[in-house]
């Protein structure tokens, strides 16, 4: 079953190398002197400062050598120094990563429970429930997360006062309370995708002959749904949940900004606004690694859930 594994891992590394090279070499795509871009502020550039930047980034060496050095240092946890915060980039990210991971985890709980739940409901109860779920997901998929964020704050934060609109919260329940609205805003689009995938996978599983055979063998509808329909629909549902969760890393950029949370996503926005290029590179690299690793894992797990999918077949 694990025949395709080395190939998948090689593919993963190749993708990561290519993506990291794009992130690194982007500096050279910019018009003008890369040292100017890397130095952060575009004003007050003295020749001394530029020379210092050149020395720090080894800009006089060939591109491939620079890239290799950057990659090697990054792999060891040395992500360079932020111009804005005058701090190690690794420390900056380390301090903010928990918030982002909590947010993604919380949002995942939301979209898995509500998305799969509503999808199952739509597939089982045709009629008005189905129409309501399909209509609701069309709406949910069309609302950008920042608009959802502001609508949620307006209604539940300002009007009803159920949830706090600022701050990070103390203790587990406090954090949970503070992260509820952000997590929901982040989960909304994902919820729509998962709901549709669930509904579709369930409908397909329902239509297959073996469900008819199970019914002919006298199984109850409940047994049929659990053992034959849901079980068979699980492959696409789990895969999609994994992919959507991985994609959420990028979604945190918007949601953290909208709620003023200090996580990795909002760090990226402020790094770009302040031209703090080492931080931008590091955060992008981190998010790309997270995304690619999670999606590869999902692909690897898929054959375990669905024996029809062979690893070797998918690797091609």
């Amino acid at each position: 079953m694990l025949r395709g594994l080395p190939r998948r891992i090689a593919g993963l590394l190749a993708t990561l190398l290519a993506a990291s090279f794009v992130i690194f070499s982007a500096v050279y795509a910019a018009p003008g002197d890369p040292a100017v871009l890397l130095s952060g502020s575009r004003q007050e550039l003295t020749p001394e400062k530029l020379a210092a930047v050149r020395a720090e980034y080894h800009l006089d060496e060939p591109l491939v050598v620079q890239y290799g050095r950057w990659l090697w240092e990054s792999a060891q946890g040395d992500l360079g120094r932020s111009f804005q915060y005058r701090d190690q980039v690794a420390d900056l990210i380390g301090a903010r990563l928990p918030t982002t991971l909590e947010l993604v985890a919380y949002a995942t709980v939301f979209f898995v429970v509500l998305g799969v739940g509503s999808g199952v409901l739509a597939a089982l109860r045709r009629g008005w429930a189905d129409s309501a779920v399909v209509g609701g997901t069309t709406l949910a998929a069309s609302i950008p997360s920042f608009v959802a964020a502001i609508a949620l704050v307006s209604l539940f934060g300002v009007q009803l006062g159920w949830f706090p609109v600022t701050g990070q919260g103390e203790g587990f329940t406090g954090r949970l309370h503070h992260l509820t609205l952000p997590a929901f805003a982040l989960a909304l689009g994902a919820l729509a995708v998962i709901s549709r995938v669930t509904r579709q996978a369930m409908a397909e599983a329902y239509a297959s002959d073996h469900v008819e055979a199970a019914r002919a063998a006298g199984l109850t509808e409940r047994e049929i749904v659990v053992r034959h329909v849901l079980r068979n629909a699980l492959g696409p549902i789990v895969t999609m949940c994994g992919l959507v969760m991985a994609g959420m890393l990028a979604g945190t950029v918007v949601v953290e900004t909208a709620f003023g949370l200090s996580g990795v996503g909002s760090l990226l926005v402020s790094a770009i606004t302040t031209h703090d290029f080492p931080v931008t590179q590091a955060v992008l690299l981190l998010m790309v690694i997270g995304y690619v690793v999670v999606t590869t894992l999902v692909d690897l797990v898929h054959p375990l859930i669905d024996p029809r999918v062979s690893l070797a077949g998918r690797a091609a």
Binding site: G11, T15, L16, A18, A19, V22, I23, A26, V27, A29, A30, P31, V134, T138, L139, A141, S142, I143, P144, S145, F146, V147, I150, A151, V153, S154, V158, Q159, V165, T166, V193, R196, Q200, A203, L243, V244, A246, G247, L249, A250, G251, V253, V254, T257, A258, L268, V269, A271, I272, T273, F277, T280, L284, M287, V288, Y291, V292, T295, T296, D299
Partner: protein
């Protein structure tokens, strides 16, 4: 690798929707276009007319949708904002479609290194979740609406190319294409005159759905401060400018443009699904 990208929201199973929601959505979009074109005639105020005495006013006969912190009329601003909010995704799609359809057709027709290049470029592009590729381009080239549109166009092109490639591959194997070849017609001529026009139905449906996504993404970039900047009038930017007032209890400045974005995207999704349904199957 299976990845979530532009177009992922295209429903897995294309359901034939009843025409009623499609008519409503289509009618609404037509209204929005009219509003954008005739904004100067329809808007009760100049969009940038500051009136600090009417700051954060609620709905009233003078200001139907209220005002923002500087007392600018929100209705007028939303009407004017429709212009850049609709034109920018249009420009982005035009760029992405030109690049994507060309690449996809060439990759399907000639295969070889173009095909390999396309799949490598797409693989790398798909390693960046969501808008992160666009964010990288903006980090390097600086922010602004033009950068955003070009970056988004580049980001969407591989997706369109991949879709075009799959359509073109199945179309290429049809007998009529062989018939043209037998007549000695050149590959480029067959592609431009016959192959691509025959794909246009499916492509247009796909592009309509992408339009809604593009609008959403550009609004997000504007909101983050990477897209359209002050003093231009853009829905995403309006939400950003209005969000500080939310905590003070004035919801309209952020919610009015936010609702406009959501409503237009919903309408595009409904129409897009219907169009791709009709045109995709009609081939």
């Amino acid at each position: 690798m299976t990845t979530l990208t532009a177009g992922a929201l295209l429903p897995v199973k294309v359901r034939a929707r009843r025409p009623v929601p499609v008519m409503v959505a289509g009618g609404f979009l037509a209204l929005v276009v009219v509003a954008a074109v005739f904004a100067p005639l329809l808007a009760p105020y100049a969009p940038d007319a500051v009136d600090l005495s009417a700051s954060l006013a609620g709905t009233s006969p003078e200001h139907l949708l209220g005002t923002d912190a500087s007392g600018q009329d929100l209705l007028s601003r939303v009407l004017y904002g429709a212009r850049s909010s609709l034109l920018a995704p249009l420009a982005l799609l035009a760029l992405a479609a030109l690049l994507g359809i060309t690449m996809g057709t060439v990759a399907a027709w000639y295969g070889g290194w173009v095909d390999t290049l396309l799949s490598r470029v797409t693989d790398v592009m798909y390693a960046f979740p969501g808008l992160l590729f666009v964010v990288l381009v903006i980090a390097v080239f600086g922010d602004g609406l033009t950068t955003s549109v070009v970056a988004m166009g580049l980001a969407y092109a591989p997706t369109i190319a991949r879709y075009t490639r799959s359509l073109a591959l199945s179309e290429r194997s049809k007998p009529y294409i062989d018939a043209y070849r037998v007549q000695g017609m050149g590959g480029a001529r067959i592609c431009v005159r016959h192959l691509v026009p025959n794909l246009s139905g499916a492509l247009v449906g796909y592009l309509v759905v992408l339009f809604g996504e593009g609008l959403m993404s550009l609004a997000t970039l504007s909101y983050l401060g990477f897209g359209a900047g002050s003093p231009s009038i853009d829905w995403g930017l309006m939400v950003q400018e209005g969000q500080d007032a939310v905590v003070q209890g004035a919801l309209l400045p952020a919610l009015v443009p936010g609702t406009a974005i959501a409503a237009v995207v919903v309408a595009f999704n409904i129409v897009g699904v219907w169009v791709s349904d009709r045109l995709g199957q009609g081939r």
